[in-house]
Symmetry: C2
Subunit: 338 residues, 2 copies
């Protein structure tokens, strides 16, 4: 049986759970190779099984490494589990309340992060896919002609996605952010139908064979913009240099945050320093204020400090690092674009 499943069976045994219910699409894919396009119930137990929606059966049977049955009803699943003597059921923290209540009367139910924890540590296969996604995204960025061009934010965002797809991505890994001028102070700005102004902030990523990439660059023009850019670049570089297995994630956040604070912009850095990525664009752990997770080899995490000056502009710089004995930046796109 697959290593991922074996690890979870050990976790279950240790905590006295008899089965683990997964419904999050990327978790089901991680375990089975089949990414649902409609609802699915994947149950890890001695004989793992997926109950897939009828409309997914052809796909599931083609891609899943574990047994697939067609979903009929909750009652069928509950009865099957009871017939096997299962009394305790671990669930994902993300399970919707309405699904939880369908199981809580018949089983001892509690949430466990077994799968998140396993997904924290990427295999060489996964790192290869993330690297390829990053390379596609960065190559596509360099194909843009924004600096000599008179186009709108929406057009640039669209061109970037087109390049990524032409370069082999299946799609963008999240809604591409191309924002400029005062709007760049919104960390998740939506590209507008207006000509680019200054500075230009682009946050983008590709999906390659299921795996995400994530980068941000900000192109600055005025002296004030350069001043802020330099602070963010210092926070970015020093945070990356600080990454080391054995430290806590929050310590990396602190490195970036302290630098920005020292320059007087503590309250303008309004998000975490970074998040893991993989099959999902946001995974755990993150380089954040309260994340006490110990950094380990094989984690793949973004480092993306930013300073946001409402009414003026924002600067964010983001790379994704793979943790080995230190942090290796994935890809080789220069931080300064001009």
């Amino acid at each position: 049986m697959d290593l991922h499943i074996n690890n979870i069976l050990k976790d279950l045994e240790k905590d006295d759970f008899q089965a683990y219910l997964l419904t999050k699409f990327t978790n089901v894919e991680y375990i089975s190779g089949y990414r649902p396009t409609s609802f699915a119930f994947c149950i890890i137990k001695e004989n793992p099984i997926i109950y897939a929606s009828g409309m997914d059966m052809e796909l599931a049977e083609k891609n899943s490494s574990i047994e697939v049955k067609e979903y009929e009803s909750f009652e069928v699943i509950v009865n099957e589990l009871k017939k096997e003597g299962i009394k305790s059921l671990a669930i994902e923290p993300s399970l919707p309340f309405s699904t939880y209540v369908r199981f809580r009367d018949d089983f001892d139910v509690d949430s466990k992060t077994y799968i998140d924890k396993q997904r924290m540590i990427k295999t060489p296969y996964e790192i290869e896919k993330i690297t390829k996604a990053t390379e596609i995204a960065q190559k596509s960025f360099l194909q843009l002609d924004i600096l000599n061009n008179n186009c709108t934010e929406k057009e640039v965002a669209f061109d970037l996605v087109r390049h990524m797809i032409e370069n082999g991505a299946s799609k963008e890994s999240f809604d591409t952010i191309v924002t400029s001028g005062a709007n760049s102070s919104l960390p998740h700005a939506v590209p507008q139908d207006k000509k680019l102004s200054q500075p230009i902030l682009i946050d983008w990523g590709a999906i390659f064979e299921g795996y995400c990439s994530d980068n941000t660059r900000t192109i600055v023009y005025t002296e004030r913009q350069h001043e802020i850019w330099n602070i963010v670049a210092e926070a970015h570089d020093k945070a990356i240099k600080a990454v080391k297995p054995g430290l806590k994630c929050c310590q990396i956040d602190k490195v970036a945050r302290d630098i920005i604070k020292d320059y007087g912009y503590a309250d303008k850095f309004i998000h975490s320093t970074g998040h893991s990525l993989g099959l999902d664009i946001h995974e755990t752990p993150g380089f954040s204020l309260r994340d006490e997770t110990i950094i380990e080899k094989g984690m793949v995490i973004t480092v993306e400090p930013g300073i946001y000056l409402e009414g003026e502009f924002g600067v964010r710089l983001e790379d994704t690092v793979e943790v080995s004995s230190k942090a290796n930046v994935i890809g080789n796109l220069p931080l300064r674009i001009d």
Copy 2:
């Protein structure tokens, strides 16, 4: 105070709840006008409030019609609610288990569908947006040159999205499906890097000012494909004709399903006949086997029967209807494309 909020306050009072917690982005938007880009806790009570992520504060303060505070911690929210004497808290069915557990010790918590129910009935404003989204999507479809062209599925999907954005959509309302040949038997097929084969199935939609559209057309060639197309078209047309306020949703599903069954393809129609749409691409109620919801004026629901022949091909035909005294098809794209 806003009508939507007033209705929910009445629901709460009726069921003896003192507050309603919303975290689903489109629910928060429906209530406040602000669509979160990061987590947010919207609490409907006498003095409704949104706790938004720090990175969303600028956006939230700009767009929200109700008070916004910056999120600090769960504890702060719990303490505020307790200070106001709140003991019972309604939640959304979709609330993640891990959020539910943060509230269950301090409040009587249960899930309620107040907001889903309210969102079932679209206002004239909402119907206007959905109609506009549909018009953009259909116009964009007609700009495709697939019939005279030698392109790949991925290229067609990409062109369609490009046209939609050029015609005023903010983005596609879901991953555009362009599939052809044997792959069209997968209801949620992913566009491939291969030249179009026959038949061609396209399922696509636009988002216009937050609201979704959804259509499917299948272009058939062989006699066998035409035969199946005619059955699906009959199911599509008769299901739409059957829609009437006062009937149950499942009765419409039965109309479509019975026609397909009469032709001997009962087990090849592997999904529901339709789903509501609005701010989300999938909303309740749906025209499905078990949905007993009474059809009402103002609902906007898709009708999308299909027949899927594994190893051969699939045919699906989808329109979105607005319920008045009967079902009005939104847009005017012919069902038969050739």
